[in-house]
């Protein structure tokens, strides 16, 4: 998988209004592979926590026989984090509270599909 593809995928995702950070994360190591983030968003801690959240939720989903986990969406007071499975990696989007979540989810899934 080329670095060019990673960059293309992230650029597209980070252009969606309200997205403050887009990154591709090594899901096992919990470290960012490529990241495009606004000031104030720290890619390394976000990558570590997003990967951990995704892995733990995936284990819980397996535990209740829900099958393979596709997407995790976290909603908080000030924003959203969307994490989508892309094989060995995951696509992570950090968005403002008022962002168009439907559009962001669509772009995150497109990005994940392109990386699989």
């Amino acid at each position: 998988m080329s670095n060019e593809l990673f960059v293309q995928v992230l650029q597209r995702l980070s252009r969606v209004p309200g997205v403050r950070g887009a990154m591709i994360v090594d899901i096992v190591a919990g470290v960012p592979v490529v990241a495009e983030v606004a000031e104030g968003v720290q890619p390394a801690p976000v990558a570590a926590l997003a990967a951990s959240l995704f892995q733990r939720t995936a284990r819980a989903a397996e535990g209740v026989a829900f099958g393979k986990l596709d997407t995790v969406q976290l909603e908080a007071d000030a924003g959203h984090v969307v994490v989508a499975d892309a094989g060995e990696t995951a696509v992570v989007a950090v968005a403002e509270r008022g962002a168009q979540l439907g559009l962001i989810r669509l772009e995150v899934h497109r990005a994940a599909e392109a990386l699989r």
Binding site: A44, P45, A47
Partner: protein
């Protein structure tokens, strides 16, 4: 580090390293100084493991520092070894007094990113400890040997350093 300073530093490191172990979900953790003195540990049950890892960590730290200088990288941030079942993270832990070394061993319950993130917090916490400002360095060969013995005697005592 002198024996009286060692006791104080060991006590001061206990809580921060215990929090690191808990939050980063690492299995075992050891903090040593450049001379191989053990200043804190969590999860080890055998003293020979501690002694061996302390010595190897000090050697790896020295080798990584030399490699960084040769390659003009100046400073190194961490070494990571990903094994099949367990992973090892070895990093310099900078304090106002001296550079310590942390070795953490973890499995699938954690990740490199999580360990890095909580290690950064640990560094900030340790750097603020007043105990490191008061500690005094040893300088000659005989005191170096005495210090190593002081570290070893702590390890081999019934309640090892920083056991959590």
């Amino acid at each position: 580090m002198k024996r009286e300073d060692l006791d104080r530093v060991v006590a001061a490191l206990r809580d921060p390293t215990a929090r690191f172990v808990q939050e980063a979900r690492v299995r075992t953790c050891i903090v040593v100084n450049g001379a191989g003195q053990v200043l804190g540990q969590h999860g080890f049950t055998r003293s020979y493991q501690l002694v061996n890892i302390a010595a190897l960590a000090a050697a790896a730290h020295a080798a990584a520092g030399a490699l960084a200088r040769i390659t003009e990288a100046e400073r190194w941030t961490h070494l990571h070894n990903a094994g099949e079942r367990q992973q090892m993270f070895l990093a310099p832990l900078r304090t106002p007094f001296e550079e310590l070394i942390l070795v953490a061993i973890f499995d699938e319950a954690s990740s490199l990113g999580m360990v890095q993130m909580f290690f950064d917090r640990l560094v900030a916490e340790v750097q603020a400890l007043p105990e490191f400002r008061r500690a005094r360095a040893t300088s000659d060969a005989s005191s170096f040997e005495r210090d190593l013995e002081a570290g070893a005697s702590r390890i081999l005592s019934t309640d090892g350093p920083g056991e959590g």
